[in-house]
Symmetry: D2
Subunit: 341 residues, 4 copies
């Protein structure tokens, strides 16, 4: 069975396993105070072009979103997100469970538009009753988005400008950041993200790590006692070294980008084949997620030989299917899928 279901189906990049083995018996302090974490922090700061960045390692994406958002927001504030944003839909109410509303706004292929955000905030403050409403206290975006699309530099700049106008932070969820940074057509670098965003996380789980995300505060704006808040949310790993070591490897010799490039190369092969065979693309994603409209017969036939994701039902006859490549996708598997198509 060929597997294109997602980008977290396998273990970890070989170099990570190698390094785990090499360092296994070194004794280190717990909770992120070890030399692996420190080394990873330095490399991330350098990669971001932001020497003053404050970096924390958490285990997963929902956890990172929950801890960051709850720590940054005040009690009367909610977080603006695209209606399709991960925090708005697929985190089982993790944000609400900490007391904050997700303020869902319309989007363009998963992206928030600066004008839409500005209009919302402006209308909010113009509303005579806004003291009886949850305040917009942060803007959340994902890059790549849930549809695999990317912001442009101009788009990020625009959102950043709105946020600064109203004094609220811009937060970027980079669960699949490696697949965005490695895109040939993007004009957005890690340095740009560090410049425009007040806080963001660099995804590890979906980009070659066993687990782990690196949360980066870029503006000397780390919430007070963030470590204690991590602990309180059950998000402070005892063996923090496990996370630090992985990011240390990912940010050594450009491995993080290399992983992204591999997945995009595999995705390009696959997209070309879909296009040539006349399949209809649901959305033009430039990254490692491919959304294809299949009719019922195609769904059934393909499903016998390939694992992929059901994305959404389009109509009685058609379904949107998602095919994902990753650091672990082998060219032979792509060729296999293409021959089936």
């Amino acid at each position: 069975m060929l597997d294109f279901v997602n980008d977290y189906a396998e273990g970890a990049h070989d170099k990570i396993l190698d390094r785990l083995r090499e360092t296994n018996l070194e004794s280190t302090p717990g909770y992120g105070n070890d030399s692996f974490c420190e080394s990873a922090r330095q490399k991330i700061r350098k990669a971001c072009g932001c020497e003053g960045a404050d970096v924390y390692f958490l285990v997963g994406g929902t956890q990172s979103n929950q801890v960051v958002i709850d720590s940054v927001l005040r009690g009367y504030e909610g977080v603006i997100a695209a209606e399709t944003g991960h925090i708005a839909v697929h985190e089982a109410g993790a944000i609400e469970s900490t007391g904050h509303k997700v303020l869902g706004l319309p989007h363009e292929e998963g992206r928030l538009q600066p004008d839409v955000v500005r209009r919302y905030i402006k209308d909010f403050y113009a509303d005579a009753n806004h003291d009886h409403m949850m305040f917009p206290g942060m803007v959340y975006i994902s890059h790549p988005t849930e549809y695999g699309t990317l912001y442009t530099k101009q788009g990020l700049e625009g959102l950043s400008a709105v946020c600064r106008e109203y004094g609220i932070p811009l937060y970027l969820d980079g669960a699949r950041l490696g697949y965005g940074l490695a895109c040939a057509d993007t004009d957005v670098s890690l340095e740009d993200i560090a410049e425009y965003c007040d806080v963001f996380y660099i995804g590890g789980t979906k980009v070659g790590a066993l687990c782990g995300e690196a949360v980066v505060f870029t503006k000397e704006n780390t919430p007070r006692q963030f470590l204690t808040l991590m602990k309180q949310h059950g998000a402070l790993l005892a063996k923090g070294r496990l996370l630090g070591l992985q990011f240390d490897v990912l940010f050594t010799d450009g491995l993080y980008l290399e992983i992204g490039e591999h997945a995009l190369k595999m995705a390009a092969l696959l997209k070309k084949a879909f296009a040539e065979k006349g399949y209809r693309f649901y959305i033009e994603s430039p990254t490692n997620q491919i959304f294809i409209v299949l009719d019922n017969r195609q769904m059934e036939e393909l499903g016998k030989k390939v694992n992929f994701s059901f994305w959404e039902r389009l109509d009685d006859e058609h379904t949107v299917a998602r095919f994902v490549t990753s650091w672990a996708t082998q060219e032979s598997a792509v060729r296999g899928l293409i021959s089936i198509l």
Copy 2:
């Protein structure tokens, strides 16, 4: 520098790293629906003598306590714990952050006494104002306790009887369970724990895993939609296989107990040496934590060559120091420490 600070200072047992490597490129579903998790569940059920047990894998101890306690309790209920219990002191308010009070009771060397718990609950219901108070909705114990002490079978039975009398669950935090089960003097087996407790967790992080705890519901009492509740608390690992695989290894060929036995053997060597050299034990712990009273000069001298924990200040002249052995402690290190003593 010799290291006896804690039992989570190194990576993981070799067999775990081996297995990670072997299985690295196998493609599996996410969120605990993989074959490694399923295999581990079966082995844990068998080890517990509880075929109907429901097993979930979480990343860490505070996280497990938070998710279990918040999921099991009703909104008006708190959790009874020893005043020294981990949830009462060292989890940064993780329980309170989900809305529940930790009802701290006096203890005997870290252990809750059945009579003390019964008296508390009885007095609670006898109080005319108890509708204005947080209800005792669960009893939390740790085994080994924070002082390294163990419950007897009779002790567990007694607490279980109180809990059943009042219809509330007994929950056991087994962060260091392996070091308790392997104790030569204990009469408490994993089967006993599964019998007397309604829910407990088997610690991995401190017993040879990179991370991970196995939460076990033993009485067909899993809270509805527990998976969704894990997700909501940021505690559902995407690559659940990482946790399942580790517990699968730990519960193959008795590795979990073997790890415990090794640490206790190392601890026994060390305790013998402390005793022979005339050091004063702060508490008689039968497991892998050793609490020694040091005077200021000893603290200073030892601190130059050995890493250990400051536990608490006893008086101006004396301090309680904690020395911990683990799955990773090498006999040469113990010999080294003994020679220093």
Copy 3:
């Protein structure tokens, strides 16, 4: 200055003040255990045609919504509401602050449609990822709605059928219930509400009381320890008698309906005048809230002599204004406004 801003601008119905005076020095137990509360409960049960109803008195509407919804929902559940519902917009995140998501759905003049709700829940359960989403655990409606519109009996029956199909409760916010029940054109009685809804509240604050809402559980479905949960939410009034007494008066000799009828009579006079003068109605509300489209000049002129509410901006030239009558509206004030029109 004439006042049509809202229905909570004055004190209380004379009969309530009279009764407060008469009973002032009677000594009663606190927290709702007094004879006034008990008498009010009996009268409400009778008016609802529901002898088994369980009735609690709370101070305000947002408080009632928060306590009821948080007490009824499980941790992984959210509440379905119209996107314009009070809990979705104007309660400052009171529902989210207790950990639950408000699941906003499209509406028809403030009313939820049974088909829309059924489709949403059906799609939810059909979604392969719904374990990672907040579950629909309750349906919230307001009657009259925020637009002053009313459900029909058939509409209520339809929503109730959806709720029962999926085993979730239907909750009705009756902040202005009196003005709905008294409507000549409605086919919905208090008995119908008690039949179709699992829980609802009868508004006092906006219908002649100083403060107070009566929460009614109709299906032997009161959450366990609801009194303790009220206390925990800061919603248990020490002098519960203040609330019980007011509802006792409101439900004596049909006063509650009488108050509603008076306000509707005043509203009818006003609507007739608006219509005759050619004003444009933004919505055809059958109750005590009147929504009129004014142009900028009208806004300015009227604003000099009459207090009314800015509702929303329609376009650069036009605004929706809201005029509200109440138990306290005097016919002379209505005549005054008409003469100004």
Copy 4:
């Protein structure tokens, strides 16, 4: 039946009822923006000798404690209180339900001692693991305490000094403040409280009002958007005038103190009689709560003719009973009780 159960058993002081009647048909804005609230704020500021004080009116004591404490504390902070403090025992976990731990400390007849508080905070910061614990973020005291005792000016000054040393606010719960201020032996005035405390509330419910407490921030330290936070907690009364009007009356012509003096005069009569008849005082309370040790026979006999509170069981033979006087206590009732004694 004579009634000495509590100080919230009757309605309200006559002057409040009179004023409610007089002003009943005046139309006012909602949510505390009315002239009654504004007038009361001015009078309270003046009585506190604190022109810059920010005053909000809430409905009840638990609600005030919850909203103030949750609004002032950061997420990682708890609140220090006497183990017998109302928030620690009798508010059904209202503080924990908002995510904060109540850090209970030993007390002297209900009073926190500055040295005990300082030692606790000092030890907290000296603990190497304090990043894994809930931080002390506020000190809560009640005055009079739950035992009817009072702080001295020196005691308040001492607590205030500790709080300022560590940069955390001192909060005073004045549910029965009137009975403390009116005490002949106290050296603590309302001005002193405003000076030493960062925030406090002046109790209305137990001191002659139907309901209501006035929260006072004294140091230009009102939490941002406090009104929105009140709304979110269900604590913003629509007819805020009801609260403002009552405090306006209570702070006109010294009524608040007059009410306190009356209750203390009644209490003095009663204490004298208890003493003369040889009853044993459990505690020497200088305010309106009298704690008497009764043997079982006395309990039974007295209980036939007088309502009083069961406070706590002392031993098999003896019980602590509480007798409370109030603004509403009539001298004839006191004489009646004395004749029974």
